[in-house]
Symmetry: C2
Subunit: 197 residues, 2 copies
């Protein structure tokens, strides 16, 4: 921000927490909060370990994408590779692992593009977005119960898909903004050579 | 897509559904699915009514933004106005209502930019993104328990914030891609004059 902002009139304070659901996959809590005006309210949300997404760029400038059935939205989605952090896992190590497991690619260079919060209304999830280049193709290692196709597309094609409704995955559209701006020179990444996992 | 794609080897079929949580705010179900290889798995996710987000542009080309405490991520977020659909509500009517309630603005012209899915791993939520222009300022009508500040920023400032980590809200970053491309002429919107609500 260009100047310091006093947000004290907006802040809510947690005064209690109740576990609402401990599913196989989803954890939900309900916090009781003290509102800025002194009143009380409840806030229900998902507790999530955090995730990474990867914008992988091949030597000829194509982007690594996936087609994957996403059951909540009941359709096959075009998206960048992504996955959840294991307990205590470093996000870059997770990005290397997920890129390899889902696509078979290893990358010579990595750069952190940014972090996004996909669902601030009801989840504490963050997604760290890493760009990867200097890719070498290899064998992927999908988890059981994981079915997805990997393919390459030109950045212009991906940007077209983000406009025409082919791509509606939020994290992938956010990645497309950063990709567009990296390619135009508006956004400059700090590339580092990282050893394979 | 440029050519038809056969996704039958990716599709999962629902064979059962269990309600896991009916909170004050969150509804969670667990579906049992038949996997592409004939196996079985469970998928837990939020059932959401859908939402809208609004990119409101003032006569001098600024964007209407909000600062709002988001309890799940425990911070004040800079974001575009947004809100959930009421039961049976038309998304454009919802966009008009949320813009007025949260910011006090009414708009003369509206254009649908697209739809995004913020959280395809564990929510069926979609967000319809509407652009609005020809704004007239008025009195906002916040819900009880709703505290937020409204302010204006130049598009270039918003794009800088999407790069430097000031803005991490996924829907707002997605909106920034569309805004950047509308302003550059890469994306063309179909503006329509719409009567106020």
């Amino acid at each position: 921000m260009t100047q310091p902002v006093d947000d004290s009139h907006l802040v809510e304070h947690t005064v209690g927490r109740e576990e609402l659901l401990a599913g196989n996959f989803l954890k939900v809590v309900r916090d009781t909060v003290r509102l800025p005006d002194g009143g009380s309210a409840t806030r229900e949300y998902i507790r999530h370990p955090g995730a990474v997404a990867i914008v992988g760029l091949t030597g000829d400038g194509q982007v690594v994408l996936e087609r994957q059935w996403r059951h909540p939205v009941a359709r096959v989605m075009v998206e960048v590779p992504a996955g959840k952090l294991d307990a205590g896992e470093d996000p870059l190590a997770c990005a290397q692992r997920e890129l390899l497991e889902e696509t078979g690619y290893t990358a010579r260079e990595w750069a952190l593009a940014g972090q996004l919060h996909p669902c601030i209304g009801y989840s504490d999830e963050f997604i760290e977005v890493w760009f990867a280049r200097g890719l070498t193709a290899g064998e992927r290692r999908l988890d059981a119960e994981e079915f997805l196709d990997v393919f390459l597309a030109r950045p212009e094609q991906l940007l077209d898909w983000c406009q025409d409704g082919t791509v509606t995955d939020g994290k992938t559209i956010s990645c497309a903004l950063w990709l567009q701006n990296v390619l135009s020179g508006r956004m400059v990444l700090d590339w580092r050579v990282i050893s394979p996992p």
